[in-house]
Each structure stands twice: as C-alpha cells, then as structure tokens.
Amino acid sequence: MKIALSSPSLNPVLVKELRGRMRGPRAYLFLTGVLVLLGLVSFGLFQLVTPRYGTFNQPNVAAGAMIGQFVFVGLVFLTIVMVCVIAPSLTATAISGEHQRKTFDLLMATPLAPFTILTGKLGAALSYVALILLAALPMMSLAYVFGGVTLSDLVRAFLVMGGFALTYAVIGLFFSALFRRTGIAVGASFVLVAFCLFGTLFVYLVLSVMRGEQPPNWVLALNPFSVLSSALVDGVVTDPNNVFGSSSVTPLLWGLAGGRFDNSQTQQLALWYYALGIYGWLTVFLFALTTQLIKPVQRFRFRPLTWVLLVLLFVGPIVAALFLYTAFGFGGVRAAWRWATTSQQNIVLNSKFTDAWEQNWRVDQVIQKASAPSGSPLAQPISTTDKDGKHALHVWNSDADTAQAFAISQPLQFGLPDGGTVRVRVTMRLGQHRAPACGKQGDTCPLMVKLQYTDASGARREWSQGFYASGEAKAKLGLPPRCQTCPSCKTCPGSKPHIRVTEAKWYTFESQDLFQNNSQQTMPKSLDQLVLKVAGTQYEAQIAEASVIVHEGRPLFEDNKKNRRIDWSLSSLTPWWIWSFINGGRDDIKGGRMWIRQGGIREVVPLLVEPLPPIPQPTAALPPPSAQ
C-alpha cells in the first residue's frame, strides 16, 4: 500500500467543522430564530417611526427616506451586536473544545500546521456568520426599498460587520487557545466584546463630562456602533453644522461616530480609519500569537515577561502610528515615504549642453536697445564653446552701445505634490562687463538664474539669483546689492544679494534647499520653468551647467513648517541643552540651520546662502558636443 502525499485538498479542519456544524436541526433553528428576531425588530421600528413621518397613504418621498434610514440603521445595529456576540462564541470553543473533548492531542499529532488548523476553525465560524449576514440581507433591502439608503451604505455596513466578525472571531480563537477552557474563553471574549460595545461609550461619556467638551473621536475607535456609524456617515455628512437638517438618524450616527457638534471646524479623521488600523493589526497580531500558542512544542516560552513584551510589541506600532499621524498627518507620512523611496534627480534636460542645446532650451531676446531696431536678428548669436575642458553655452555682446538681454529657458513642469528639496547648480564663467555689478536697478546682471514655480495656493512665484564679475555692489557707488526692480525679488521673502564671482574664472554656484524656509502655503506644488537671463552691454557669459536637483518628499524629522503649532520633530523635541552639549556649548548650526531658542518654541532661521569656493577644474574632459 502506498499513500500518495499529494492533492492540494480542502482544509480538513474546515471540512470537519462544517460537517458537524450544519448537521441536525440546530443550525437551521438558530437561523430561523435570527430571522424572526430581525423581522420583528424591523416591523417594530417601522411601527415606531411611521407616525412621526406620515404614512403610505400620503406618499412622501422625504418621509420614505427617513423611515428607510431608521429601519436600516436599527437592523444594522442589531445585526452588528449579533455578529459581535456570535463570532467570538463560535471560535472561543474551537481550541478549548478540543482540549475538553480530549481530541487536541490527536489533532496535534497530525502533520497539520497550526496555521491550517486555525484558518479551518476561523473559516468555519466566519462562514456561519456569513450565512447569518446573508440571511439578514433581504430584511435590509426592505429598508432599501423605502429609500434614503444607498447601495454604498449597504456595502459599507456589510464590510464593517464582516470586519468585526473577523476580528472578534480571532479574539475568541486567541482566548480559546490561551485559556484552554471553554467557559473562561467564552467569558473573556464576551467581557471584551461588552467593553468594546458599551465600555468605550461609557469612557467617552465620562471623559466628555470631565473635560467639559467632546473628547477626541478616537476614544470610540474600538466601539462597533461608532465605527459602523462613522462608516455610514462618512461622506454623507460633509457639513457638521448641517447635520441635524439631513435626517432623523444622522445626528445619532454623527454623535456615535464621535463627530463634533460644537461648530469647530476641526478636521477629524473618520473613526473607521482608526478602527481599520487598530482592528486589522489586532487581528494579524493575535492570529500570529495564537499559532504560537497552540504549538505543542513552542518556540518561546510564555512567561510573565513574555506577555509584557508582547503587549509592548502590540501597542508599540499603534502608538508609533498615532504619533506619526498626530505629528505629521497623512501628508507628512506620505511625503516621508516619497522621500525615502526616491533619490535626488536633476530635472533639467541637457543641463550640460552636451547635446544640441536648441533641442531643450529656448531663447527669447528680451531687450535690444540703441543701434539695433527691435525685432531684428540677435546682435550676437548664442553658440557653444569648449573652454578649459568645459563644454559651455557662450553668450556675449561686444558692442558697448547696445544693451541686450536673453532669456534662455527650459520648461520643467515638474509636480511636487508632497514637497521636496530643490537645489540649483550653475557653473559659469563671466568675463568683464561694462555695467558695474548688476546695473543701477540691480536687474542687469550678466547672469541671473530664475526658477519659476507655482505654490500651494496657486500663485506663481519666482526664485532668482544674480551673478556679476566686474564692479562693486557698494552703497557708496549708488548700486544696489540686490535687485530692486525685478518683480520676483519683491515677492521673494528673503531677497538674496547678487553674488560676485571672479572675473574670467570658472565658478560653480550650488544653492541649498531653495524652499527650506517656506511655509506650507508658499511651498512649490510644481516647478514651471528654469530661466537663465543673460543681460548687459559688452559682456561675456559662459554657462557650462544649469541643473535643478530635486529630492521629492520630506524627511519626517527635518520638518520645519513654521505654521505648525508644535514642531513634533525629534530634533525639536530634544531639549535645547542636549543640542548645546552636542554642539560644544554653542547654540549652533545643525545641517545648515541655526536653532535659536525663543520662549519654548524654536524658530528655524535659515543661514544665508554663501557662495561656495570655486571647484577645481575637472580632470576628465567633458564629452564633445554632438554634431548637429
């Protein structure tokens, strides 16, 4: 005799449980009982509510909707109580029953994995709950007929009920494996379910009396009524002030869901998101723990310390998640994710002009004065040169009488929905120019780099930085150190002085994060265009590189949004004297930022952008420009 150890068949425990459970009249009698109860309750609710809204004799659409909602909510609440009681009571006997019937050893002596045994038990219990839910469905669609209830409400209600059935079934399974005695396991499950159903409401009420205001809604996160209400009311009620106007049961649902009645426009996360996280994690955690508990030969021993560690292991991620959410919101966490999963990239195409520059760059002649009439061809065409081993864009004007200005631009159209750091790197060589510094208005630098962007509020903004080589930007010469007339610089919060570079020497400017000090409203949502403005009379500019280096997202603990009441970041939560200690007694610079202690809340003040020392000449020659 040879046994084929093959055939991926059904879970044997599931088969056995289902055979046993559905045998005999018991299961059907129970189901009938449930249906009779639901029927009576919905009839009672109908009778209760009809006199308030009118009767069928006077057809009234609004009344029908209200009746429908009332009956639906009543049925759904009754069903969720049944689900929350039945699901754990089915599983609480699953493992303890095996112990009590003395079949546990026989089961464990088979090669079945604990996971298979538990999924079998769970599957059998849940399929029975599913049967009850399915049986209740026609009753609820009766409410659906009255109106006021959408298909989406029905789907949400069933999703929430199914979720609770799963979680409470796993809790029952856990207690069953833990206590090994049916009575205690069922009792413990019921105590827990009763706490979730009523205890949390009680805590919420006590808290609201004690605080004299509504507690945060997450206090109700474990309550099935509240979670169900929040799922039903989420999206239906967008205006909390108008909540009473909409329907008879909506205020009840809104209240149960921990919604605010106090006109405060506080945005609260809908309760069922909390519930989804907490119960989902609880389910996975307890299931994994139960697989360990029923192993006869255990990997680790369950000592008191083990339980403490397990509780920490369970609570830890919840606390961490709440901390992350409270401190940074979903946007912050998403931005941190983006920050972690992307790296720096240069969003400028052909930034070193190695390909034919006309492909990616556009030239607009902005000004042409004096000798040449407007609209005539460029006084000097733009070309490329190879100088000192660098391949560069070459713009010059040898005519002392003619002022000219070019805007060499590249559209970027790069979205930054989660924020990010943006740095600009420009390598240039500026020759002697006639106008000292950047001219009288400070706007005719030989080279001015502009980054045009759209901020979160939709306003178009510009960051700019000017460079010059000749002349002194001193007040005594009557020359402004920074641009006075360009519109951009009036809107720039920290208008930067122009940078003087050494004449006829290569210089690389590398900015810090351009927007590190912007508030949330002025953070760029998209980078629109990079403009290299070359202007003056008798000048020469060579540009070897123009890059915009972007790192999307935001690291969690570099967060320095000014408009936030409390900066939750780790560095800001660290007492100042620790930083002081770390920095050797100075209230000092950390990552290019100066931390100044001001009355408990630290302001982040940016360091001025200092020109970096010129980088040495690259050793390797750049590739030659492609023949075009």
């Binding site: 055979r19 050893d105 090669p111 006869p296």
Partner: protein
C-alpha cells in the same frame, strides 16, 4: 537487545518537570526497529509523559528525542508523518460518523482522495468495525472507540506506533482481540511501543520490555534477557496434603533447592515455596523423586509470576 538493529527511537537524558514534580527523570530509551516494545510502569510512573514527548506533543524540560534519526523538537511535523499516536485518554468529536472520523484524519495526512475511501474500509475491516461505518462515533462502546482510535493511527501507514494503554478499560475478550491486533501489526513490520501498567498482558507478546518507575527506566531489554535475569530467582511452589513439619520433611531431600518457607497452611494442606536455580528438566526430576517417595502432592507449580515479581522487586527497591 540486539544492538546492531537500527534504533527507531532513542532518547538521551530525557527529563520533564511539571513545576516541582519530576515526571520523567533522565530517561535513556532505545527502541530498535521492528520491536514490539512493552513500556511498563505503575500509574503515574511517567509513561504517558514519555510517550507524549516521543510524539512531539510535549516539550521536554531537558534531553533530546530522536525518532528515525531526526530530532523531534526540531521537526515535529515530519515526525508526525512517521508515527501513529494513540493517547491513553482521548475523546471523539460530536456529530461525526465513524467513516467521517477516519476521513478527517486521512485528510489531515493528505491521503489522496481516491485512496481515502478504500483505505477507510480496509482499516474498519482490520479493527472489526466495518458494520459501524455510518454509526455516530459517540454512540460506539468504549472498546469500539478504542479500536477506532487504533485504526486512525494507521491511516497514514506509519512505521512507528505509539500506543498509550490501548487495552485500558476493555473487557477481557476485547483485551485479547487488541493483543491479537497488535501482534498482527508487529507482523506487518511496524515498530510498536505499547504502554501498560499490567505487566503480564505485555510480557507474553512483547519482544522488548522497559520498566519505568518514578520517571526512571529501572530495567530494559529484550524479553528473553529479562527472563534470563529471573533464572536465579525462580520459585517452586508445592502444596502437600499434610501438616507443615511433615511437609518440610518431604521437600528437604531434593537437590538444588534453597530453604523452604511455609506460605500457607490449611487444616489439610501446607503450601511451601523454595528458591530453585535449575531448569525445567531439573524441576520434573524433583517432582518424580518426591512422588516416588510417596509425597502427597496436590499442586506443583512455579511460584508467583516471575516478571511480576521482578516488577514488584524493582519498584520496591525504588520505593525503599
């Protein structure tokens, strides 16, 4: 014990402590392949604990168990494919028919669907339950449940059977049937460990015997070896229809006998016991001699049960 045979089970310093009670104490068990191993001890001696550890259902406090060369604690699921385990106390599920019971365990062992049905019928035939195929398992008598449980241990055709008191709670006839069944299984080449607190039940059929007392293995080896140990302490029992002085007079003459002691006296007879170190031929000669001398012998037998005495002796030593 033939040490050349491969060992199916080997334990090294197997120890199990329940809080303060030492249930199994440094047990070194060696069971060769093909053995029908009688694991004997009083109630509470640690038999069940040992068997559960062998089956990978209980974690030893210390020590190791090898089954077919594999550490049980490390590969419990592979081990479960090799062994069939029958606990001393077991229950059956509610609402389950006899064939479903076997079907469930067959599924647990992933027996192919096509094979399952015929296998169940074969096993029910083997344990004489073919006519109860559709009965409810709870409605079966204790003996039938016992046999059904034995059938379930065979569902995956294991090479090793761990049977914990398979005959407990059975009536004499059922015990004999169970014994025959075990012999049949042993003949099929399976290694069987069967525990019992009643020694004679096992002594007759087992190839090997291990006696456990207070968690310690006090004697172990093949049945022949254990019998040999007993040769020196064999007892002869004689009942003579006379009073004690005369009786002692008669038996004193025989060679190779130790000092006779009076065990029982009735108005008409005296029962004597004496140590004897000869074989059966010597015993026959003594009897013939006595009869020719006209001794009124009503009964002549081997005194007590040798194995049981050894058992008592060993356990008594431990108790002392």
């Amino acid at each position: 014990m033939n040490m050349n045979q491969p060992l199916v089970i080997e334990t090294r310093n197997l120890t199990k402590k329940y809080k303060k009670t030492l249930a199994v104490d440094q047990l070194n068990l060696r069971v060769p392949q093909g053995a029908l191993y009688g694991f004997i001890g009083r109630n509470g001696a640690g038999k069940t604990t040992t068997l559960r550890m062998l089956a990978g259902l209980l974690e030893p406090t210390s020590g190791q168990v090898w089954v077919a060369g594999e550490r049980v604690e490390q590969h419990p699921r592979q081990i479960h494919r090799l062994i069939g385990y029958m606990p001393d106390f077991f229950g059956v599920y509610d609402d389950m028919r006899v064939w479903e019971y076997l079907d469930f365990y067959a599924r647990c062992h992933k027996v192919a669907t096509a094979r399952r049905r015929t296998l169940i019928d074969e096993l029910l035939e083997l344990v004489n339950l073919a006519d109860k195929r559709d009965a409810n398992v709870q409605a079966l008598s204790r003996g039938m449940q016992q046999r059904l449980c034995l059938a379930h241990t065979l569902i995956h055709e294991p090479q090793l059977l761990l049977l914990d008191e398979p005959a407990s709670g059975l009536d004499p006839r059922a015990r004999i049937e169970m014994r025959e069944l075990l012999k049949e299984l042993a003949a099929m080449g399976k290694t069987i460990i069967v525990s019992s607190h009643i020694l004679p039940e096992l002594a007759e059929m087992c190839t090997h015997i291990g006696i456990v007392e207070r968690g310690k293995l006090v004697a172990s080896g093949s049945t022949a070896e254990i019998r040999q140990q007993l040769q020196a302490t064999r007892l002869l029992r004689v009942r003579l229809l006379t009073d004690p002085p005369h009786a002692l007079e008669f038996v004193r003459t025989a060679p190779g006998l130790g000092e006779a002691t009076v065990v029982a006296v009735t108005p008409h007879s005296t029962t004597l016991e004496m140590e004897f170190n000869g074989d059966d031929h010597a015993a026959a000669k003594i009897l013939a001699d006595w009869i020719t001398h006209g001794a009124p012998i009503a009964e002549f037998s081997e005194g007590g049960n040798a194995l049981e005495d050894l058992f008592l002796q060993l356990t008594a030593t431990e108790n002392a």
